[in-house]
Symmetry: C2
Subunit: 446 residues, 2 copies
């Protein structure tokens, strides 16, 4: 009853036209760009043989409270979680990977691996809205499930890179793919530090934030987390510019399997033309990665991380299913759009009208609709004006809508069972029978 | 902390693979059908010159507590409404129309009317899940804003009907569009009942449910809501089979403007080939309709209402904006799919592979990826196997994936800088240079 009362109390003052905080309205011009970007990504991903899956954004809250969550802190503090009218706890998905693992686990025995799956879900995080950080955004998720070998890592990283270069024409110089493997950092800790880090989780989180602060601040924090000499070792490690340099400084890392994997991956990525670079400081602050991780970083225009991903073997085991090897990435629409815009590569929506049908009198309103319908059946994009207009007004409307053809129907046309057909680019006009005139649209007059 | 503890307590037992109750998972085969249906509707709607808009499913709760809601009972008892971490009350939209009104009101002064706008949002209702009634479904919304004349009603109803006949090829006999105008029922009450109905809201809700019960039950309820003689009048009115019959039984209704509008609409719908029928019992249990209402009812296969809509002038006034005339409909994906399935008209997804690249040895894994990338750049849908395979295994995989071409790369091909290219439909095989082989895909061998 309370809601009802408050509604009555409020009904005299106008409702706000603002959307909910931190989400977007899409007017047709915005939606056109959104769909144009979507179509480019989708068609490119599908050329890679990836198949689309989907699920509701409503998920049982437990899914993010277990170790399935990409980031426990986000799961705890930034999810939209509520209790439904039946007492079930529900979360608006903050990411797609737990859902993907759930779907794969449910059919682990009948699916035919390896799978190449993609999705384009909206995901939700309760955070203070700011530039590029919304509470809802759309995110491309591409994953290969069921292949433990590094060939899957190579394919996923190449796909990530080629969405930018091939689907949108971004120059290879406009970004770099920073690649690492968390096993290298673990091996460094074991081989070269004087003692295990007292708080490895906080240490890795600090390393993950390295790009976001200046060097002095980073060093101070590192010295709070490690003994003085170990902090110096770690700094040297993180600043190595290549895997070769890392290995010459820390030769005992050469026999670590993570390094062998990385070397194999980098050989493949070079052959495939991916602009990659080893980055020892790349951690990605997530729980579930188990192997190679990567991040695509814009180096011209924007200088920021655009998106990333990595290998997360075994997530399906949380569901009691066999552990399935997996590697994938998530690419958000807001960041992708900002990256493309900075490069002048944002595609534009190109829908314009082919035909405008103009009723010259009130009597011809329904007849105009009939002619528009005939044009649509012949494949044209057609609109009939909903109120009578003069020929001059009709041509004005058609030009505004980008239509190439105008069709007039007035008393004369109705009586003669014809239409008057005007081709705007050539300003030519003719009469045509009311049955079949639409087939003239296919051949533009000379 | 509580959530954290419960997560630890739970981590030993497996998570459920079930989705949240009343929502759907879309495996690739389901998603393929969903997208195939979506593509048909979208491309047909766009031929009508409708432009897509969108918005977040998160809306301020006030939007549905004011009179903007299609149905107050639903707004009160069936919405997903919760309080966010910042204390704001949020609702998962149960329908799109209030959002549309919000968007139009926000730019009422700068938008150029009439507008033809469509959207394909997911909408949410907390209800007991049952056949065809889910908690989340996707819904096509098409609306014309800014045109008060009946020409807009005619266009919207024709579009609704032609989605079934033209986008999917449904026979005109498979459904009927039931049309009415709420002004006729109001006029009947004023002109022919002995007194105003004591509870008009309950009366209209009862009439709205007429199709869902047998005649005796309906009559009993009607007699609880109206004096005996008035109930008999109402029954006669509701059972009239056509507008002509209604007018011959109740001649004083002929001068009612609602009847004149309906006659004009029906003339237009007949010209446009829409299978319409007047239905005096059509009320649609909603608050905001102000004029003609309609419902598309399946008459072969399924016998049930598929979708409906009508005119709802002035909703934008709730936002303090000028009242904008509007007419539209909402078509849900679940009902549409069931209708098409019953008629054997459900489109299928048709994505299959063009090329499978088979690495014959471990050394050729990355090279196979490179060849697949070349094929994609030439427009083909291509996959490289992630593990080496024999030629026989490769052909088996290719046949399963529906690929027409198989490309082999082994030590021989790598050394000679060639590929071996097999065309499966003709079982022909040839060698081709490793640079440029992909251009052979365009011309199938004779």
């Amino acid at each position: 009853m309370r809601e009802n009362e408050s509604s009555n109390a409020r009904s005299s003052q106008p409702l706000s036209v603002a959307p909910y905080r931190g989400v977007r309205d899409f007017y047709p011009e915005d939606m056109g760009v959104f769909r144009a970007v979507e179509a480019r990504v989708r068609s490119w991903i599908e050329r890679w043989g990836f198949e689309e899956y989907g699920a509701s954004l409503l998920e049982p809250a437990e899914l993010y409270e277990a170790k399935a969550a990409e980031n426990e802190e986000i799961a705890r503090e930034q999810t939209y979680t509520f209790t439904d009218r039946g007492g079930r706890r529900v979360t608006l998905r903050p990411e797609m990977t737990p859902t993907l693992a759930r779907l794969a686990a449910a059919r682990a025995k009948s699916l035919r691996f390896p799978l190449r799956w993609y999705s384009f879900p909206n995901v939700f995080r309760y955070e203070r809205p700011q530039e590029g950080r919304l509470r809802e955004h759309w995110q491309w998720n591409c994953d290969i499930l069921g292949e433990p070998g590094v060939s899957a890592d190579i394919e996923i990283i190449t796909l990530a890179s080629s969405i930018l270069t091939d689907a949108f024409g971004a120059p290879r110089e406009s970004f770099e793919v920073r690649v690492s493997h968390r096993g290298i950092l673990t091996a460094l800790e074991g081989e070269y530090l004087s003692e295990p880090p007292p708080n490895p989780t906080r240490l890795w989180a600090w390393i993950d934030r390295k790009e976001k602060m200046d060097a002095a601040q980073f060093t101070r924090g590192l010295r709070d987390l490690l003994p003085f000499d170990d902090a110096k070792v770690m700094e040297t490690f993180l600043e190595a510019g290549s895997l070769d340099e890392t290995l010459s400084l820390f030769p005992r890392l050469a026999s670590v399997s993570a390094v062998e994997l990385l070397q194999e991956a980098q050989e493949g990525l070079t052959l495939l033309g991916v602009p990659w670079r080893f980055d020892a400081s790349l951690v990605r602050g997530f729980n579930y990665y188990t192997g190679i991780v990567f991040e695509v970083f814009a180096v011209s225009g924007l200088r920021r991380s655009i998106f990333g991903g990595g290998r997360y073997d075994g997530l399906t085991a949380l569901f009691g299913a066999p552990p399935i090897p997996a590697v994938g990435f998530g690419l958000g629409d807001v960041t992708l759009t900002a990256f493309l815009k900075a490069l002048g590569l944002l595609p534009q929506s190109a829908l314009s009208l082919d035909v405008l049908v103009v009723p010259l009198g009130v009597r011809q309103l329904a007849l105009a609709q009939k002619h528009a319908l005939s044009a649509r059946k012949a494949g044209a994009r057609a609109v009939a004006l909903l109120a009578p207009a003069s020929p001059k007004e009709g041509v004005g409307e058609a030009l505004r809508a980008g239509a190439r053809w105008v069709v007039f129907v007035g008393d004369h046309e109705e009586a003669q069972r014809i239409v008057t057909l005007k081709h705007l680019p050539t300003r030519t006009q003719r009469e045509a029978p009311e049955e079949g005139w639409e087939h003239l649209l296919a051949g533009e007059p000379a």
